[in-house]
């Protein structure tokens, strides 16, 4: 009987995920000053955008129905989603590089689900600044009632899942096309960039793009379609996209894995 067929496997898996996250954080905290600098500079980076939007909305209070509070919550959801992805599943955006350089071998040789193990084995320290920023913005501009908190938590969870599995999908191209890390990074950057602007400013082909090829619209419309007034049709679309991306991402990864060729690089995971 394999380890996973044994009773209590889900509990053991959760312990494994928890242990990975804990050791990643402890590793990051080893260099405390560097940790604080990296997380702090990311926080400042995000604050600069808030200043930009603050100046913008001071001059133009409403843009196509979007107000300052909506854009602030857009940043809270977007920065929080990408921050949670990079903090807890920090290898998402590095899969293409791992595939091309043959560095998946070390994960294949261990008795854990490969994709999950790959995703959680790295933590981006600077992304912790994004998460802190997200919570700060929510604290200042969000609805702090119990329902508001639940809605914000749901928005964060949905945004994080879209970020993770869109990134997995574009990185899996490397299994078929080889060195696509540049292309995957460009697509990921496009998703992140588009999620930080109100959907109300896009029209025609641009808007279509945001709700299809680069599904940024499903994140950037959350402040209106979920946080301000829950729109059932939009929420159905978001859940559908999350489902398609999650199933598609996992399927693409394991299908691609069959084409993976081992490298001769020695690796070690403790």
């Amino acid at each position: 009987m394999s380890d996973y067929a044994m009773p209590g496997k889900s509990k053991r898996l959760l312990w494994f995920v928890w242990a990975c996250w804990k050791s990643n954080l402890l590793g990051a905290m080893e260099f405390r000053l560097s940790f604080l600098l990296m997380a702090g500079t990311m926080l400042i980076n995000d604050v600069v955008w808030i200043i930009f939007w603050g100046l913008y909305f001071r001059r133009f209070p409403v843009v196509n129905g979007w107000e300052l509070q909506d854009v602030m919550m857009l940043w809270a959801v977007s920065a929080g989603g990408v921050g949670l992805m990079s903090t807890l599943f920090g290898n998402s955006s590095r899969i293409a590089g791992l595939v091309v350089s043959g560095q998946l071998d070390v994960y294949l040789s261990q008795p854990k689900p490969v994709l999950l193990h790959v995703l959680i084995s790295r933590m981006s320290i600077s992304a912790i600044g994004d998460v802190a920023f997200s919570l700060l913005v929510y604290g200042f501009y969000g609805d702090r009632s119990l329902i508001g908190l639940a809605k914000f938590g749901l928005a964060l969870a949905l945004a994080t899942l879209i970020f993770i599995f869109f990134t997995v999908v574009v990185n899996c191209l490397a299994f078929w096309l080889g060195g696509t890390d540049g292309l995957s990074a460009q697509l990921f950057n496009a998703l992140v960039t588009f999620t930080t602007y109100p959907t109300g400013i896009f029209r025609g082909a641009g808007k279509l793009l945001l709700f299809t090829v680069v599904p940024a619209g499903f994140i950037s419309y959350l402040p209106i379609g979920l946080l301000r007034d829950a729109d059932p049709l939009f929420m159905l679309g978001v859940v559908g996209v999350v489902g398609v991306l999650t199933v598609g991402g996992i399927w693409l990864f394991y299908t691609g894995l069959k084409r993976y060729t081992s490298g001769n690089m020695m690796g070690l995971r403790r």
Binding site: G40, T41, I51, F60, V63, N64, G200
Partner: protein, 267 residues
């Protein structure tokens, strides 16, 4: 004769850097796609804003002027290489020891390298941004301003180098300097006028910003290019020259102090 030989040294350094950079033009083109993405988003944002305002101009800028302003500021910003990354690596790897014993001035060497790299990157960005601008917006309203752009942009890049070098030289003391550069760049984005012209800021902030060196980096060149009739070019160039001298002297002083403190790790 001696001065002429010294000048030639830097000309050759510049030529070598240019050749190195030319080998990566295709790579720059791919990376410049991000410039097009950002310009596309700003195009949508400001088109919606102008439509919402229902006026032909905002703070003296027409929609076309504002978009050409952003083409210039984004092209310039994305053309600047990271000085902190370079100096930090030199200090950490010990390569700085080789640079210091060469018969060339450390800051002048980096300035020549920086400007050569900027020349290629800015050309690529300008061509791409210009093509997008011409296709979507049509030609700029005051083409004469764009004739002055190379001069004012040259001064802007030089000022950015002096400011960046002052920060990067702190690598002689602290090694990790990229965070400081990151914060500096963010100031350049906002109060430096990269994301929107200074005229759109609240009045009180405009007064503060006018006293900062950052306005000489991207705001001055972009404003000259798109609103030539409302700028006094000699005054702008004088302002840029003044800040270049001030930060050139500060960078030289920091270098002289830092080089005495430097502990080289490797080599």
């Amino acid at each position: 004769m001696n001065a002429l030989t010294k000048t030639f040294k830097y000309v050759y350094i510049g030529r070598i850097t240019l050749r190195n950079q030319l080998a990566y033009v295709v790579d720059f083109l791919v990376r410049s796609l991000f410039l097009l993405l950002i310009l596309y988003i700003f195009l949508q944002l400001w088109r919606t804003t102008y439509a919402g305002e229902g006026t032909a101009t905002i703070a003296g800028y027409s929609f076309r002027q504002l978009m050409w302003y952003l083409v210039v500021t984004e092209s310039m910003t994305l053309a600047c290489p990271s000085l902190c990354t370079k100096l930090e690596e030199e200090v950490k790897s010990g390569d700085v020891a080789i640079k210091l014993v060469r018969p060339i001035h450390f800051i002048a060497f980096h300035y020549t390298e920086y400007m050569s790299e900027v020349a290629i990157r800015f050309t690529v960005n300008s061509v791409l941004g210009g093509m997008l601008g011409l296709a979507v917006l049509g030609p700029p309203e005051h083409a004469i301003g764009f004739l002055w752009l190379p001069v004012v942009a040259f001064a802007g890049f030089t000022l950015n180098f002096m400011l960046g070098m002052t920060i990067a030289l702190s690598a002689f003391w602290v090694e990790e300097t990229r965070g400081l550069e990151f914060v500096y760049n963010k100031f350049l984005f906002t109060v430096g006028g990269m994301l929107m012209p200074i005229e759109l800021f609240p009045e009180a902030l405009q007064h503060v910003v006018r006293w900062l060196p950052l306005q000489g980096v991207v705001y001055a060149p972009a404003k000259t290019a798109v609103a030539f009739d409302s700028v006094d070019v000699p005054s702008l160039l004088l302002m840029q020259a003044g800040w270049i001298v001030v930060f050139g002297l500060i960078a030289a002083a920091v270098y002289l102090r830092g080089v005495k403190k430097l502990n080289v790790n490797g080599g």
